[in-house]
C-alpha cells in the first residue's frame, strides 16, 4: 500500500480556471438573489456564455497538454484539503453541459424573459437562479476531487432541480416534485453513509488517494453498494425510475430539457467516478453484469412504456428512462468477462452516449414544448399538421430521434457503435442484442410521433401562439450538435481518456 503521506499532486498552471468554473455560478446565484428578478436574466445571459467559453478553454487545455488540470483549494493538499481536478471526462462533460445550458437559456428567454421596467416575477426569478445553480453544481460534480465535496454538489443539484419541476404550481407537478425530492434525498443520504464508511477505513475521501489505498474489505463493499444504490435512485435507473416521468413531463419545457439532459447526468457521472476512478477493477464481473442487466431492463421497460404513451412529453420522459439504460451498459462492456478493465472504447462510448443524449433530449423537450405552445396540447394522435405549422421544430425533433436511434453520423451512432464494438470484442453478444432491440423500439416511437406530425390535419389548425424563431433555432441547433457529434470520431474523442489512472489496464487488486 502506498504511503498516504506522499501527496499526489499540486496546482497546475491554469488550474485557477477550475476555481472560476465554480465561483462564477455561485457569484451569479448570490448576486441575482439580491438584485432580484429583473437582473437575474441579465446576469445569467452574461455568465452562462462565459461559462461555455471557460469550459472550452479548459477542454482545449486538457486536450492539448494531455494532462489533467488540478487546483488545490486553500493550498491544503489532500487528504486534509480538497483538490479540484479536470481530466478528460470532466472537460468533455463540462463543455457538453455548458452547450446545452446555453441553448436552454436562449430557449427560455421567451417563457421566462423579463420585460424592461416590469416588477420582479416569481417564475423568472426562480428559473434563472436555478439554472445558474445547476450549471455550478454540474461543474462541481465534474471537477470535485473529494467524495464529500461531491455529496455537497449533488445536494446543490437536487435543490436546484426540484423547484424547477413545479414552477407552474399545478397540483400534479407539486406531487411530482415532492416524490422527486424524496427519492433524491434517499439517494443522497445513502451516498453520504458510504462516504462515512470510506472515511472510517482510509481517513481520506480524495479520489486519487482513495484509489491508491482502497482494498477489498466488508466496510468498503458496503459503502460502495450503498453509494451506488443512492446514485441509481438519483439517476433514475430502473427500477428506481418511478419519479422521473411525472417530474420531467410535468415541468415547463425549458426546465424539462435541463432536467432530462443535464441533471440526471450528474449522479451518473459520480457512478463512473466511483467505479472507474475510486475503485478501479473492484466492481467484479458479477457486479458489472448486474449494472448491465439493470441498464438492459431500463432500455426494454422504458421503450415499451414509451411506445404506449398518448402524450408527447411523457413519451420523451420514458425515452429518457430507456436511454439512461444505455449508459449502464458501459460497465460490463468496459470490463471483460474476467473483470479486467479494457481499453477505453466502451468508456468513451458510454460518455459519448451521455453527451449525445443530453443534446438530443434537450432538443426534443424544447420541440415538444413548442408543439404544446402552438397546438395547446401534446396528444400524439392529434399532432396532424404540426409539421406544416412548425417545420423547423419537427425537423429538430426528428434529428434528435436520429441520435437516440443511433443512425450515422449522429453522436448516438458513434456511442452505440463503440459499445457494440466492445460487446463483440469481449464476447458479450447479449448486450449487443439489447442495444439493437432498443434501437428498434426507439425507431418505433419516433415513427409514431413523426408520422402523426407530418400527417395532414383533419380540420384547420388553430394555432394558439406564434412561437419565436429563436426558440425553434435553439432546439434545432442542439439537434444538429447531436447529429454532428459523431464526427468527433475524427477529432477530439481521445480526450475522454486524458488523466485516466494507469489502472485502466490493471486488474483488481
Amino acid at each position: 500500500m502506498p504511503d498516504a503521506n506522499v501527496l499526489p499532486d499540486a496546482t497546475t498552471t491554469d488550474g485557477a480556471l477550475l476555481v472560476l468554473a465554480i465561483v462564477l455560478p455561485a457569484a451569479g446565484v448570490l448576486l441575482s438573489f439580491v438584485l432580484g428578478g429583473r437582473y437575474a436574466e441579465r446576469i445569467a445571459s452574461v455568465l452562462l456564455p462565459s461559462g461555455l467559453f471557460l469550459a472550452t478553454i479548459i477542454f482545449a487545455d486538457v486536450w492539448q497538454s494531455g494532462h489533467p488540470l488540478i487546483y488545490i483549494v486553500g493550498d491544503w493538499k489532500p487528504p486534509l484539503g480538497i483538490a479540484l481536478r479536470a481530466d478528460g471526462l470532466s472537460a468533455a462533460m463540462m463543455v457538453a453541459m455548458a452547450i446545452v445550458i446555453c441553448a436552454v437559456a436562449i430557449f427560455a428567454h421567451a417563457d421566462f424573459g423579463t420585460r424592461p421596467g416590469s416588477v420582479e416575477a416569481r417564475a423568472p426569478f426562480a428559473f434563472w437562479i436555478l439554472l445558474m445553480a445547476i450549471w455550478g453544481a454540474m461543474n462541481m460534480v465534474f471537477l470535485g476531487g473529494d467524495l464529500f465535496t461531491l455529496y455537497v454538489a449533488i445536494e446543490l443539484l437536487t435543490f436546484a432541480a426540484v423547484p424547477l419541476v413545479c414552477l407552474d404550481g399545478r397540483a400534479e407537478t407539486l406531487q411530482a416534485a415532492l416524490r422527486y425530492l424524496l427519492f433524491a434525498l434517499l439517494g443522497s443520504i445513502l451516498y453520504l453513509v458510504g462516504t462515512a464508511l470510506l472515511y472510517g477505513s482510509y481517513a481520506t475521501l480524495d479520489i486519487v488517494l482513495l484509489s491508491r489505498q482502497v482494498r477489498m474489505e466488508p466496510a468498503t463493499l458496503v459503502a460502495a453498494t450503498l453509494m451506488t444504490i443512492g446514485l441509481f435512485a438519483k439517476t433514475a435507473l430502473f427500477p428506481l425510475h418511478l419519479w422521473l416521468p411525472p417530474a420531467h413531463a410535468g415541468a415547463p419545457a425549458a426546465a424539462s430539457a435541463v432536467l432530462s439532459a443535464v441533471v440526471v447526468k450528474g449522479s451518473f457521472f459520480i457512478v463512473v467516478r466511483l467505479w472507474f476512478d475510486v475503485m478501479p477493477g473492484m466492481l467484479g464481473a458479477a457486479g458489472a453484469q448486474l449494472f448491465g442487466a439493470l441498464g438492459a431492463a431500463a432500455i426494454v421497460f422504458g421503450s415499451v412504456v414509451a411506445l404506449q404513451q398518448q402524450r408527447l412529453k411523457l413519451l420523451i420522459a420514458y425515452s429518457t428512462v430507456a436511454q439512461i439504460g444505455y449508459l449502464f451498459l458501459m460497465f460490463p462492456l468496459a470490463l471483460d468477462t474476467a473483470a479486467q478493465l479494457q481499453g477505453g472504447g466502451a468508456l468513451t462510448g458510454g460518455m459519448l452516449q451521455a453527451i449525445s443524449h443530453a443534446t438530443a433530449k434537450a432538443a426534443m423537450f424544447m420541440a415538444a414544448g413548442l408543439i404544446y405552445a402552438t397546438l395547446g396540447h401534446d396528444r400524439i394522435a392529434e399532432l396532424g399538421g404540426a409539421a406544416r405549422a412548425l417545420p423547423m421544430t419537427i425537423f429538430a425533433f426528428a434529428l434528435g430521434g436520429v441520435s437516440l436511434i443511433g443512425l450515422p453520423p449522429s453522436g448516438g451512432f458513434l456511442a452505440k457503435w463503440l459499445l457494440l464494438e466492445a460487446a463483440v470484442a469481449t464476447g458479450q453478444w447479449w448486450w449487443a442484442i439489447v442495444m439493437l432491440a432498443g434501437g428498434l423500439f426507439t425507431s418505433g416511437y419516433m415513427f409514431i410521433v413523426l408520422s402523426s406530425a407530418v400527417a395532414p390535419s383533419s380540420e384547420p389548425l388553430k394555432l394558439r401562439v406564434a412561437v419565436p424563431r429563436y426558440q425553434e433555432a435553439a432546439a434545432l441547433a442542439l439537434a444538429l450538435t447531436s447529429l454532428l457529434l459523431g464526427l468527433v470520431a475524427l477529432g477530439p474523442v481521445d480526450i475522454l481518456l486524458v488523466g485516466r489512472p494507469d489502472s485502466m489496464m490493471v486488474g483488481p487488486r
Binding site: F148, V152, E155, Q175, L182, L192, V193, P246
Partner: protein
Amino acid sequence: MTAATLFGLCGAALVGFGLYGLVTNPEPLRKILAFNLLGSGVFLVFGVVSRRAAASGLGGDPVPQAMVITAIVVAFAATAMAIALVLRLLQETGRSTLSADNPGGTDTDRGNS
C-alpha cells in the same frame, strides 16, 4: 464492545427504521420524518468513525464531525423544502398525498396520465 461501536450499531438500526418508514408510510409528512430519522442514523455512523479515530489529545477526529455539521444543515434545508411542498400541495388540493391518482381534479392536460 466500546461505546463508539454501541452508538454505531444504534445508528445502523436507526437507518433501518428510517428506511422502513420512508418506504412504507403513505403520508408525506411521516416520510419526511422517517428521512430525518434515517439521516440521524447516518450521522451517528460519522460519529463512530470520528470517535474511533481519536488521537492527538482530541476526543475524536474533527474531520467527520465537521462533515456531520454540514450534513445536518443540508438535511434541515431539505426538510424545510419538503414540508413547504407538502403544505402547498394541501393548499392546492385539500389533501396531502403522493398517490398517483388524480389529485384535486385540476387541469391534467399535460401531466401524468
